[in-house]
């Protein structure tokens, strides 16, 4: 029994796993104490629940629970990490390095710092979406204080060489921040091995609730930050504000499930993604965006040439997908991530991001394959460019008359 629209937009957000909701609800309803209330049992038990969840988050990433700071989400964590580190270490230098393909929650704080007198290098990526380590090394300067590179890209799912970058940064004493919002439950994260100093996490990308995230702040060697939210001194002064017990409990449970089920889930998801890829690859003039090897198995981002992007999205509305990251879906600009891979505007516009998840079924994948074949066929029938392509005309050589 298919439920429409079929949800294939797991990178935009995920449903709260019923097991997570079950853990959360008592803390939302009966056990409502403020975890900072030291004077009664309502407060104490809420505080304990928060600390237990902190352990669960730390366990997924092999860190110490003292290194976990609760925030309202990965966007806030990114802001805290980037602005917090830049402000603390600005005496040492004012140069930052990041990638052109980062989420706006990293790019915008960087732009803000530029307005405050910092310099930021936005590195290009290769055609496969991965950063070139040599280009990265070249970009380092004596006054570089912070590097921010995402673990898994939200649009194309590629996995950056975090371990290698970490080695380079540690060697030079540069603080290394990683936005891992799309990584939890999809790739193994071992902070005892990875030389990462700051790492941002989101709950709602890993079957937890919206409104909660975390920032990992390394203790050995010690990393310092300027707090961005001031007040009651919560989270050892790094992030003031009453902690939302039920949301935190939800994140803890979501990360516990991720830790326990990741390997079996990866296998199943990879099978489904590969099925989808195989089913769509026989459509002419399709291009997979981003490296297929260094990529999470949940993501398939494909451009369909000679199909107008908006028409395509409307034609396949039985399937809930994304064309460009959700956070920028409101503006109809071609995805800057796809442009960074070298895709032109038309191809960027005619791309679809399919992201598979815990509750995706084979039936849903098969329906999607059939739907895409049918709709793309119809749309191309209407496309003069498609007709020209089929006649063998090299469209790049055409001199288009201006109107």
């Amino acid at each position: 029994m298919l439920k429409f629209p079929i949800y294939l937009d797991y990178s935009a957000t995920t449903p709260v796993d019923p097991r997570v909701a079950e853990q959360m609800i008592p803390w939302l309803c009966e056990r409502y104490g403020n975890p900072a209330s030291r004077s009664h049992a309502y407060g104490w038990e809420a505080e304990k629940a928060v600390e237990d969840a902190r352990e669960q988050v730390a366990a997924l990433i092999n860190a110490d629970s003292k290194e976990i700071v609760w925030t309202s989400g990965a966007t806030e964590s990114n802001n805290l990490a980037i602005k917090g580190a830049a402000q603390f270490y600005k005496g040492k230098g004012k140069h930052l390095i990041t990638l052109k393909t980062e989420h706006k929650a990293v790019l915008d704080p960087c732009r803000e710092l530029e307005r405050q007198g910092f310099e930021v290098t936005y590195l290009d990526v290769q055609e496969d979406g991965l950063v070139d380590l040599e280009a990265f090394r070249q970009a380092l300067r004596p006054d570089t204080i912070l590097v921010s590179i995402m673990f898994v890209n939200n649009e194309i799912g590629v996995i950056q060489p975090i371990a290698e970058i970490g080695e380079i940064c540690r060697d030079k004493g540069i603080v290394f921040h990683v936005d891992a919002a799309q990584a939890t439950g999809k790739v193994a994260i071992d902070l005892a091995q990875l030389k990462v100093d700051l790492m941002s996490f989101s709950a709602h990308k890993t079957y937890g609730p919206k409104g909660v995230g975390a920032l990992y702040v390394r203790r050995k060697p010690r990393v310092r930050l300027e707090a961005q939210m001031h007040g009651g001194g919560h989270e050892r002064g790094l992030r003031s504000g009453t902690l939302a017990t039920h949301q935190i409990v939800g994140m803890g449970e979501a990360f516990r499930i991720a830790r326990e089920e990741m390997s079996s889930e990866l296998e199943r998801v990879r099978m489904l993604r590969d099925r989808l890829l195989k089913g769509l690859q026989d459509i002419d003039a399709t291009y997979v965006n981003g490296d297929l090897v260094h990529r999470v198995p949940h993501n398939l981002n494909i451009s369909f040439a000679y199909v107008e992007g908006e028409s395509l999205i409307m034609a396949i509305k039985d399937v809930a997908v994304s064309s460009g990251s959700a956070c920028t879906s409101a503006s109809l600009e071609p995805s800057y991530v796809l442009r960074a891979l070298g895709r032109n505007d038309e191809l960027a516009h005619s791309s679809i991001r399919f992201t598979i998840g815990r509750f995706t079924t084979e039936e849903e994948i098969d329906y999607t394959i059939e739907l895409l074949h049918r709709k793309i066929g119809k749309l191309r029938e209407l496309s003069p460019l498609w007709e020209m392509f089929q006649e063998g005309i090299d469209l790049d050589s055409v001199q288009w008359a201006a109107h």
Binding site: P5, Y7, D9, A12, T13, T14, P15, V16, A21, L28, C29, E30, Y32, G33, N34, A36, S37, R38, S39, H40, A41, Y42, G43, S72, G73, A74, T75, E76, N79, K104, A105, E112, H204, P209, K210, G211, V212, M229, H230, G231, G232, G233, S240, G241, T242, L243, A244, T245, H246, Q247, I313, K317, A320, V321, S322, A326, C327, T328, S329, A330
Partner: protein, 384 residues
């Protein structure tokens, strides 16, 4: 299960049943990202818009004046730092009894060249009029005075203060986190430029708050990114909490007058009982929230008293939750000129929708027993 009678409603409140019903679907099958263009996203967007309208209605503002945040602390940080960032360094005036999440951000402004001016309060915690007039002559660019104090419950005449600030060209902000749901809060009528409110103080969930902001005030965002909340607060919207916030606002507004009367009567009964015990009640001579009693028993330690009351089955507080980890006397009381030793004796009882007369009676009985016990222990200590 050991369930103390809950008398700490100013710290946080139990979730209202209607709020629970409204929220549960958003922790289940309705999970879309409001920025997604498909049906799941549109459903989330519609719920977000509806909640925004409810919050706006409850505070007498327009929906476009409501900026959702993760809570009251964030909204206070956003206003103070965000407004200051768009101005040349100048002067910010804050009352001497603000919550740390107003005091601390204001203090941080010093690092960029701002002057912080504390507005004195009198023995009841009311803004000292002479000092206020002095502040106005100093022409602060920003002013922040809370509508209701979380510890003693004292109310400020914010409409009058805002009027005075407007006349000198300052932006006026008021932290109304404790006021909403206990008294009428009308953004337009108060004449403030900005107001902070929070869901978990009015029967809503933890994790949602709002800065209500006059659109003439330019604000730099605290959290930058995907551009949500018209660029003023980025980050995927927490639909479940925001939906809960909207319903909580609606519920808090309904029957407000009757509820305030009922609470005031309970407060009066409690204070009569405290008077018999010779307790001092802070801000007694000033207009206060109807649900709050901040009192002290001379010679006793508030922390100890509160711990024993918890054992006896009553959850209350010795000063605000946010600072209960630090064993310092109440900042509000010190600003009111109360001696530190008296401030350390303070206990706060704050009541709410579930509080009944029987709770007040049994609390008083337990208080009498506990105070007698502590006094006799003290007597023994003195003898030996």
């Amino acid at each position: 299960m050991f369930a103390p009678v809950y008398l700490d409603w100013n710290a946080t409140t139990p979730l209202d049943a209607a709020v629970r019903e409204a929220m549960l679907p958003w922790l289940a099958g309705r999970f879309g990202n409001a920025s997604s263009r498909h049906e799941y996203g549109r459903q989330a967007r519609a719920a977000l818009d509806e909640a925004r309208a409810r919050v706006a209605e409850a505070v007498g503002a327009h929906p476009t004046e409501v900026i959702f945040t993760s809570g009251g602390s964030e909204a206070n940080n956003l206003f103070i730092k965000g407004a200051a960032a768009m101005m040349k360094p100048a002067r910010i005036a804050v009352s001497a009894i603000e919550h740390p999440c107003v005091r601390e951000p204001a203090g941080q402004l010093r690092r960029t060249g701002w002057t912080v001016r504390e507005i004195a309060v009198d023995g009841d915690g009311r803004i000292d009029q002479a000092d206020w007039q002095a502040v106005l002559t100093e022409r602060p660019a920003l002013v922040s005075v809370m509508l209701a104090n979380n510890e003693s419950g004292v109310l400020q005449d914010v409409a009058a203060l805002a009027g005075g600030a407007r006349a000198t060209g300052a932006w006026f902000h008021s932290d109304a986190v404790q006021a909403l749901g206990k008294m009428p809060v009308d953004f337009r009528a108060l004449g403030v430029h900005a107001l902070t409110v929070s869901a978990h103080k009015i029967g809503g969930p933890l994790g949602a708050g709002a800065l209500v902001l006059d659109k003439r005030v330019e604000l730099a965002p605290l959290i930058a990114g995907g551009g949500q909340e018209r660029g003023l607060r980025s980050g995927t919207e927490n639909i479940a909490a925001i939906v809960g916030f909207g319903v909580a606002c609606e519920r808090a507004a309904s029957g407000l007058a009757d509820e305030a009367t009922r609470l005031a009567a309970l407060r009066a009964r409690l204070e009569a009982g405290l008077a018999v015990l010779g307790m001092r009640i802070f801000s007694a001579g000033a207009p206060r929230l109807p649900n709050t009693v901040f009192f002290a028993a001379e010679g006793l330690d508030g922390e100890t008293l509160v711990a024993k009351l918890d054992r006896a089955g009553f959850a209350c507080a010795s000063g605000s939750a946010c600072s209960s980890a630090h064993p310092e006397p109440s900042h509000t009381l010190l600003a009111m000129g109360v001696e530190a030793i008296m401030a350390r004796a303070a206990v706060r009882v704050s009541m709410g929708r579930d509080t009944r007369e029987a709770d007040v009676e049994s609390f008083l009985a337990a208080l009498v027993r506990t105070v007698n016990e502590l006094n006799s222990l003290a007597a023994v200590a003195v003898e030996t």
